[in-house]
Symmetry: C2
Subunit: 353 residues, 2 copies
């Protein structure tokens, strides 16, 4: 199978960009372009962010307003990494303008935004797709999905995920530390975790059985949640647990030791997504499969590519749902928002029983 080959001819699928608030926008654009999409325009009022983007993507034509961006009839899709609390409204404007929308995660900060987006999808028939990169843009995660589909571990019973992230010492934008703007750790970086669970377990719906958030060690950022965890129970009876945090140690050779552990009736899969701890070789995509045939290891780098992006382009052109059903993208977001809403607040102060 060819890896990340263009799925369309030049000019067949055109997208534009707005919202450079998170560096994810760079990998979103690169992956779309690799899959054959043509990047046309960019609207970004911040000169510094815009210049940096144009250095990397000189083909993008700067335009002077969002209205100009959205009114271009030759553009199929708008890709964006806006401030999280503005992602929903931007998407609604994009869809109302007749275009599909591809946003960085977390796609919403309130359930109200989600419901309006759902209504707009229904009304316009457009797509509100989400860059759940920790599965879609990781070949280890893609390979694991293929193994499950091939029955390598029997029926999936449980998925556990770790999503540690490095806070870093360079200051992040203001919105990053303001709860009303980023929404909370469970609707932000945990949305990856929930999406993976629903996907690997084949669940269409789940309930939030438990969730917790805390700020253990960053009193200088009182609205930052540096830890969160959550347990989901799927409609078909599978279970999920994940923990996410901003505690990646300084000495780790990458930004986070992301893991996924999938328990099946006939085997298990572990994905070490970005690093294999203390191993000489750097790089990610480490997949460990154990089943009746033994223990096997793959470095999935270069094995699977990232089929999501080409599928997404074709979905937009053909109005199909092969990359990701809209329902699934929204359900992952919804569960993160619900988990956020009902989370127990942790603290190092003694908890009363």
């Amino acid at each position: 199978m060819s890896i990340n080959q263009p799925v369309v001819k030049p000019g067949e699928f055109v997208f534009s960009v707005t919202g450079l608030e998170h560096v994810h926008i760079y990998s979103m654009c690169s992956a779309l372009i690799q899959a054959g999409a043509q990047l046309k325009s960019i609207y970004e009022p911040d000169e510094k962010k815009r210049s940096a983007f144009l250095q990397k993507f000189p083909q993008a034509m700067p335009v002077s307003s969002e209205a100009e961006l959205l009114s271009d009839p030759g553009v199929h899709m708008i890709a964006a990494a806006a401030i999280p609390c503005q992602r929903g409204d931007l998407g609604i404007r994009v869809m109302a303008a007749g275009k599909d929308y591809f946003t960085d995660k977390g796609p919403f900060t309130t359930l109200e935004q989600l419901e309006r987006a759902r209504a707009t999808v229904k009304k316009t028939g457009r797509k509100y797709m989400v860059y759940y990169s920790e599965r879609l843009h990781n070949e280890g995660a893609v390979l694991a999905g293929e193994m499950i589909a091939q029955g390598e571990i029997g029926d999936v019973i449980q998925v556990t995920g770790f999503g540690p992230h490095r806070l870093g010492t360079a200051p992040r934008p203001d919105w990053f530390y303001q709860k009303a703007q980023y929404g909370g750790i469970l609707c932000d970086i945990a949305s990856h975790q929930i999406e993976q669970y629903l996907y690997y377990a084949g669940e269409e719906d789940a309930a939030v059985t438990m969730s917790r958030v805390g700020n253990y060690a960053h009193p200088q950022y009182p609205e930052l949640e540096d830890f969160g965890d959550c347990a989901l129970t799927g409609k078909k009876g599978t279970t999920n647990y994940f923990r996410v945090d901003w505690f990646t140690p300084d000495g780790l050779r990458t930004w986070g030791d992301g893991r996924t552990f999938i328990l099946g009736t006939k085997g298990t899969i572990e994905i070490r997504k970005y690093i294999n701890l203390a191993a000489e070789k750097t790089g990610g995509n480490h997949v460990f499969l154990v089943n009746g045939k033994g223990e096997k290891y793959w470095d999935a780098t270069g094995m699977t590519g990232h089929p999501f992006f080409g599928q997404l382009i074709l979905d937009c052109l053909n109005r199909t749902e092969n990359a990701m059903p809209q329902r699934h993208a929204f359900k992952a977001a919804e569960l993160g928002l619900l988990a956020q809403e009902k989370a127990l607040r942790l603290s190092r102060d003694e908890i009363k029983f």
Copy 2:
């Protein structure tokens, strides 16, 4: 530091044995003997079990009744791996006879048994110690405890544990499949997990925030729980999650890929207790430490020994609590029983929302 050296002279500390229902009794005896204890007598009515034990420990003198075993004034401690639902009452008889008790885990199957044991400890001043082997008898787990004590990962925030076990094809004893006798997966194999959490996080008390049990794939054993998980919230605000199961795949080179992940404010520790998946070398005790100084790996085999057993002998002789506080041993058991009691029952049938 010398490893597992005798802490007493021959004959200074004497123990006897009853209850050979779980093979753990063999490693309990071996570890005590290595630490200097003298094995004196055994009471076991089952001829086959007794003979097998005497092959391994020919020094043990068979006696014809429990009363005879318990009335020997030269014996300090009784070690036992009875049927789980009988462990509590046996311990109460042992303590009433003026001896310390060292039982396999899970130490109880009901809260009522636990409360009577607590009362008997208070009344007699004797010890009810538990073989929480997954920490006490694993050098990787011991090394992790030393690293935490040395401040290598800052303050512990969270502990996640996986305790998969192999069910195997050889039939297990009847009690193993009967809920009233083994108590449920959360008070049995999960007791290890809870003990580890309390120990690594330095928590004296915790609440059961969520627990679930299920039988996903063993309809032939309707009372077996082949999956369980649980989230605890500690009194000091740390958190715990663990999952336990009977789904170790046939192809794994050992009985279970037990793991512990410890998240601290300044670093993380992962223990791969019994195997490092797909690695050439077999054996356990793999410890991965990541902190500000980088990523480090140790094979802890032969590094730490198992100090618990020598400390336990000295605790019995000196009436100290260096091996494990009585309160801690009981609290781990209590939380498992509470988790069991309140567990959500999972099933592959559709769960109603």
